[in-house]
Amino acid sequence: MNRKEFAKILKERVLILDGAYGTEFMMRGFKQSPEEILLTHPEAIKKLHEDYVKAGANALLTSTFGANPIKLSKIGLESHHDEIVKNAVKIAKSVSKGTLIFGDIGPTGDLPYPLGERTFDEYYESFKKTAEALLNENVDAIILETFTDILELKAAYFAVRDLSNEIFLIAHLTFDENGRTLTGTDPMNFAVTFDDLDVDAIGMNCSLAPEEMLPIFEELSKYSHKFLTVEPDAGKPILRGGKIEYPIGPDEFAIHVDSYWEAGANIVGSCCGSNPLHTSKISKIIGRRSPVEKDEKHLFAISSPSSVVDFDQFVIIGERLNPAGKKKLTEAMKDENVEYILDLAREQIEKGANTLDLNFGVEQSISKDFMAKVVSAITYKTGAPLSLDIQTPELLESVMKRYAGRPLINSARAVDDEFLKRANLIKKYGGLLIVLSMGEHVPESFEERKLSITHILHLLETIDLPKDRILFDPIVLAIGAGADARETIKTISYLESLGLKSSFGLSNVSFGMPDRSYINGAFLTMAILNGLSSAIMNPLDDTVMGNLKASLLLTKRSRISMSKVQGSELLNFVLTGATEKLLSSVNEFLKTEEPVSVIENHLKPVMDEVGDLYGSGKIFLPQLILAAQTAQKAFEKVQALIPSGGDYGKFVIATVKGDVHDIGKNIVATIVKSAGYKVLDLGRDVPSEKIVDVVEKEQPIVVGLSAMMTTTAPRIKEVVDEIRKRHIKIPVIVGGASLNESLAKELGADFYAKSATDAIKYLKQMEVNH
């Protein structure tokens, strides 16, 4: 059956795919892999196929899931590859009676570089061999199942598609309960990346029960324009009486089948733990139904294995991975020093780049393998999608094919040959393309740029490439060479009026000029006001970044968000409120370290980091509170193990008499506790005398007073006066909405805490002084 015929069927009805093989063979008493069973007990394979056909399956998977040469080599069967594939298809066909045969290809089980050692080419060659054998046996479709990494899946896709344009091709990823694959891809990213490719259906299988998989499938359905397939597991395996069981029986499984149909599934099967009874139930419920019509979303986005960058918000493309004028980077490219390049990438991401432009400089001196290695290292290790600034068409094609996600291609001029070559590359390999609004000659005016844009829009129609695959570069020229920057701005405005996205290389504008940052910053502001979508720029330039942030805020296009903080595991635990994980790490530390060391070397440094992140505006107040609340539990646990209590001293805190506003005081108390101090919180509306009584009795190292109202601020002086009257030597920290530095001094306080973390700063300073 060819693709068109297959697609026609799927437009008319939902198909039922069979169920599990590996786990079902285990249930039937076999201990080997299906490939081994195929060689030793082919009748068992045949019997299970027959059972699935009887149960109502419209499609059977060949027993070739683990038959790729890399996988077979792990059980010493690589020399049987062709025999296994041939026999598997033959057996399936022998019982099919009109049931479709899907040639099944599973992953190698090896992770790609830099997470593992495998290269794209090794995957590709291995899958190509299996695909070729399956195609030779005339299967009706090929299904790539249970892949946990998007690059490996892409390699398998090309291995099949490079051999045949006629075969119906299905690609699956496997997600965990958090909706991510093992290497971090989410369903939106999967949809965005594979929608560009010439695959017929995408979907998911394995690892999750129907109920767990449903929201992930719905997310995929929301963004994918392909046919959809799904095969959930029959739950998580349980070991009972030495035997593995899967808890979800056919009836329970069937409860969820309707939901998958409603979410747009075109082919529904079942995975690990299921058996022909599950298939029978699925078939009875949706076996004759037509598929539902979906209304998918279009995303103007690029991706890496673990993140999607959407151009509906302003995108900062870091410009610094370009060896031009950079001696050290040039040497790193020459010496194939991936770590140096990674450091430059991370530096830009930390400073706010959403994606990175990657230029290799003199491309003739760089090997294809090194290019692929750098691209994989950056995308997997930093999570940033890339803008591939590669000029040599063959090299660009090689990198695009091996790119794990959806790249941005920088760039093509509006010259037919050049544009069409690159447009065809993104059609084949996926991605977005920046098109320069210039032809053979550098444009001086807006009108010249407009002509190029119009020409490209016309060409897009002729090659059937949608506009949402293209960004236009309005061409920035050096004002130092006499160019008029306003012509670029007019072009941006024009693109915005047509609903087209734009991106430019910002720094060109100030080339050869003094005070480049100011010129770049001002020009970027003007461009953003006129609708610029993204810029290739230097995120390390604070002036320009400041202008950018302000411009986006003023134009209501703010990208302010809870930025992902890069840091240690412990930092991640406290910032996300992962108390159990934090306590578990603390337990690990306690196995080899003294409790005091755990506080000094782990918990305190983490909370110092949290304080710094808050102080520098990198995290928001709720994140600070959550971190403090989480860390506090770890401190309490460790301090309980120290005979002396292990705290750094007592801290008395109260909201003064007459003031009932205590939320600020509460936050400070929590943060101080989370830094290892013992906090005596006297509450709100506390009489001055009571505060001083407690101070006298408990002898804290500091007393903190909070007053929100102007009417209650004088109470601070009352407390301070009473402390002095009783000759108690103790610093007083004050804070609250009604106070400021000078008022705090006037009221006799030693320190004014403006924000929630200032009290900690003061306490630390005290530690240093003592």
Binding site: P622, I625, L626, Q629, Q632, K657, G658, V660, T711, T712
Partner: protein, 200 residues
């Protein structure tokens, strides 16, 4: 005097307002990472809040540069009062409260170490009481033909906070609201007072 009870779930509060109150400045929504807590705490806020308001209309004396403007034997002084209420022929006074259950819950969460939830509940409460006042304010304006001033509250600019004592005295009994005699803050804490002047 009119006593109005407003079902808490009928009050529409834009999420951006709550996000901003919580300190997620500029984001416009509650970040996904915090949504689970937000959903839970918002539900608590809706459950425990009993928004109610007391509203009355007063005929003021004419404005005097020294004494300000008087209603019901109190003098409302200051530049804010002059600019907003100075030309009023009628003045609405309103006291809005969420009741004390939400205060208790905020304290309870704090004491049990759930500081984030305590903080979030406080923020949602603050916005809820403000949006109840806004909704009543809008309702009044839609029904009256006179020109309404800005809604001004004791404690802002130079409108004396001591006026809260009068609000508590005038309306407090009906809503179980008290004012601290020294600081003039309200109890329950999620309580706000306001004047609106009406002129020709």
């Amino acid at each position: 005097m009119q006593i109005i009870e407003v079902p808490s779930r009928d009050v529409e509060i834009p999420e951006r307002a709550i996000a901003s109150r919580m300190g997620f400045k500029g984001i416009g929504t509650i970040p996904e990472e915090f949504r689970k807590w937000y959903v839970e705490v918002r539900e608590i806020a809706m459950e425990l809040s009993k928004p109610s308001a007391a509203i009355d209309l007063f005929i003021p004396s004419s404005y005097d540069d020294i004494k300000g403007i008087s209603i019901d034997r109190i003098e409302i002084t200051g530049t804010l009062a002059k600019s907003q209420l100075g030309k009023s022929v009628e003045i609405t006074a309103m006291l809005v409260t969420l009741g004390s259950d939400i205060d208790d819950k905020i304290s309870e969460l704090h004491e049990s170490g759930e500081e984030l939830k305590s903080f979030m509940l406080d923020a949602i409460g603050s916005e809820l009481v403000e949006y109840v006042a806004r909704s009543l304010d809008g309702d009044l304006r839609s029904k009256r033909s006179l020109k309404g001033s800005a809604r001004i509250a004791p404690g802002y600019v130079d409108l004396p906070i001591s006026l809260n004592e009068w609000f508590a005295f005038k309306f407090g009994k009906m809503l179980s609201v008290k004012s601290d005699p020294q600081s003039f803050t309200f109890l329950p804490r999620k309580t706000i007072s306001a004047f609106i002047g009406w002129s020709n």
